[in-house]
Symmetry: C2
Subunit: 212 residues, 2 copies
């Protein structure tokens, strides 16, 4: 094996990825709240630009949660996945109230192992369930939160976490399991853009990135 | 008066603005924690790229707070400024503990009236003071949090909020009081970039934006 394969993405690549996916999300899921996981804040901010007119004419609020993955340990089972994620920030003590009855789009930049998304969805769902339990049973169904997930890139590889079947999943693009170089990580943005242009000219970009 | 003057900024304009300012902040303030106010999350993410190597070799954590400005009311005095800002998200119940002893860079995209920054600094400072009060008096000075502020753009105009003298203030660029069109708000990013290029060619960009 040589060097890990890199793929460089420009800001405008990411912006247009989000624009295309926003059209599908506006037609199908129609979120009224974004929850950004760490690096998902920027994609959520761009998504809001494309979603605000089509749904409420108002800005969709963006909340942030902070999650970090512990290093993966050998022999980890699906049951232990949750324990590998630590919260650095959450929605606050009123989390369940904030979420109740909303259509929540959870946003992250990349879906690698799916562990962080698995954790986020199950914990947010648990916050909702605790809040629903305070309501009379007849009111619960109407107040139940709808969740969906959006990631800019989904790496096509075996996943260690999973999402419930009733949570729609939107990936801007599917990619092979390579190293994605995002522009906000570029210490020299002109060089980064030149590499991205080379990869497009050589066909590498088209070979490794597929529309989702 | 005609249309409000617009200035279009590309993603790479913003990225390089942050890169330049990061060099000053690394030399002078050396933050070990970022607090992003809403739209400040993206600038904080880019800033982290340029600061991580020079200080700790580790990623600097980014926390997010959400603040919204109420519509400005006529006859508002300085004392009332705080009441015009509402929190949509805060650091959580452990805010003071999170901040204690840290060098905190508060990040926002634009400093318009300075009201949001005024509110953020005074409320975070109050969280710290409550936490300091739990410590023996002799330990308080060493544990006191240092705050600084970074904004991508500072509009040169009369400000309605103010910052304490001991809080360093970094603006990537100072601009005239015009309408700043950020790329993440662009519904057509190619058109946006073309307008930005025109404004640079015509000298408008150089006339209205000054290095800080």
């Amino acid at each position: 094996m040589g060097e890990p394969e890199h793929l460089h993405l420009t800001y405008n690549d990411v912006h247009k990825n989000i624009e295309r996916t926003a059209a599908r999300i506006a037609a199908e899921f129609k979120p009224d709240l974004f929850i950004a996981i760490g690096g998902g804040f920027f994609p959520a901010r761009v998504m809001r630009t494309f979603l605000k007119d089509s749904i409420t004419k108002r800005n969709i609020p963006i909340y942030a949660i902070g999650l970090s993955l512990y290093e993966e340990l050998p022999g980890t089972t699906a049951e232990q996945i949750g324990s590998q994620v630590i919260r650095t920030q959450w929605l606050g003590p009123e989390s369940g109230k904030t979420l109740l009855g909303r259509r929540v789009l959870i946003v992250d930049e990349v879906d690698d192992s799916r562990k962080t998304l698995h954790y986020a969805v199950s914990e947010l769902q648990a916050d909702v369930e605790r809040e629903l339990a305070k309501l009379p049973e007849a009111e619960r169904d109407a107040a139940r939160t709808k969740f969906a997930v959006f990631v800019v890139h989904n790496k096509l590889k075996p996943k260690l976490g999973s999402l419930p079947d009733d949570v729609p999943y939107y990936a801007g693009e599917n990619t092979e399991d390579l190293w994605l170089d995002y522009p906000w990580e570029a210490s020299n943005i002109d060089e980064h853009d030149a590499l991205a242009a080379e990869e497009k000219a050589s066909g590498k970009h088209a070979d490794t990135v597929k529309s989702a």
